[in-house]
Amino acid sequence: MTIEQQSLEQEPSSTKLALSLAFAGLISGIIIISIFEATLPTITANKARELREAVFKVLPNVTSMQKLQFDNGKLRVRTEKGADEDTIYGGYGSQGQFIGYAVEGAGPGFQDTIRVLYGYLPEQRKIVGMEILESRETPGLGDKIFKDMAFVANFDDLSVDPKIKAVKKGTKSAPYEIDSITGATISAKAVVRIINEARVRWEDRLPAPGNEPKLELVSKKAADEGKGDTPPTPAPGN
């Protein structure tokens, strides 16, 4: 018996090899699909809740919200699924009156994409709140863009004209300037850049103040007013 024959005998057929791999792949696929299906509702709910909480955080005194979509040159209430980058959130007060927009923007930070949500009052042309939805900035440094309350507070009353500018910490003098973070200049500047870009993108898309889309489905905040941090009930249709 030659060596070649020996090795041929010991080698299982390629069909068997392929089959065992295919079988493992099949089982693995079934498991992955089941875990995906099982966790999907929780994950979607978590994301929606996070976003809703963020909208109520960046727009003070808002009690209900609805998705708005820029479509065919007009901002209207979002009816069906549209592109996410054309969607913003309208915030309304307890009487259903329009208060402001919550706009999402994204862009590269120090390590990975940062997703920012900011509250904007079109009439006063002011940003009234900022929330980081997603970031992988360096813990202890870059993550100060959402952990450093002094930095976040910069965005509570910020003029957008001519445009937001990050300045060295402690040197803020104009209403459109923000104090940067020592040791996290890149992350802080990234946030400013993302907001500026999103604002430019939406500047011409927003209707003139007073012509905002009306609140279609009125939903009351479950908790009493003033308890801004309690999770509001979801607006129907969202």
Partner: protein, 218 residues
């Protein structure tokens, strides 16, 4: 294939991962997550637990099917098994603890490529019974958790002045920012390895002395 826990060899299989064959300090495996996610104690712990789940699950499965797995495709099959467990833990963390999942980010999927896990399948699980394989996996991942936690807590305490997010030193403490940046990971790991080798060497020297003394007496 039940293993009596009191069986000294099963316990030994587990204990060896904690110190003698510690995957990080002795085998120096799994360095990528080791350095990347240990900038805070909680991240290190979450990463360790995720790895534990994957390693124990895959070891049990590989060991149970070791006679059915053709040798020629065993590595691919190990990877399929490991990847399945990683996906399960990935989605579970995302659903249950989204905040921690966010922090760990890309490193959860990268558990697939943790050489410690594949190494245990090839070196141990494929040759031993399920009971031993599980004990070995528990020991190795416990050793991994200890190492991650040691690094994570040192870096968080020095680099951020806190442990598990709780402030330790008050406002007067100036954090050593470098400790939570990548260089801090290398420095801390180097110092821990230094300490580990020093202890091992001292122990070996001590044993030598004992043997020499015995011989001199005998």
């Amino acid at each position: 294939m039940a293993i009596n826990i009191k069986d000294p060899s099963a316990v030994q299989e587990m204990m060896k991962g904690l110190w003698r064959d510690n995957p990080v300090f002795v085998q120096v495996l799994g360095m990528c997550p080791m350095l990347a996610v240990t900038n805070s104690a909680i991240n290190a712990l979450a990463m360790g637990i995720a790895t534990l789940f994957v390693l124990v699950g895959s070891s049990a499965l590989v060991s149970a099917f070791k006679n059915l797995i053709p040798k020629q495709v065993r590595i691919s099959l190990y990877i399929v098994i490991i990847a399945t467990f990683v996906t399960v833990i990935d989605y579970t963390l995302l659903a249950l603890v989204p905040a921690i999942h966010k922090e760990l980010g890309a490193f959860i999927p990268l558990i697939v490529a943790n050489c410690m896990i594949l190494g245990r399948q090839e070196a141990f699980a494929a040759k031993h019974s399920v009971g031993f394989a599980v004990m070995d996996a528990i020991g190795m991942s416990a050793g991994f958790v200890i190492a991650l936690f040691a690094l994570g807590s040192v870096r968080e305490i020095l680099g951020n002045g806190s442990l598990f997010g709780i402030d330790l030193f008050g406002a007067g403490f100036e954090p050593w920012v470098i400790m939570i940046l990548p260089p801090g990971g290398f420095i801390t790991l180097g110092l821990i390895l230094l300490f580990f080798n020093w202890v091992t060497e001292r122990k070996a020297r001590f044993l030598e002395q004992v043997v020499a003394a015995e011989q001199a007496r005998g």
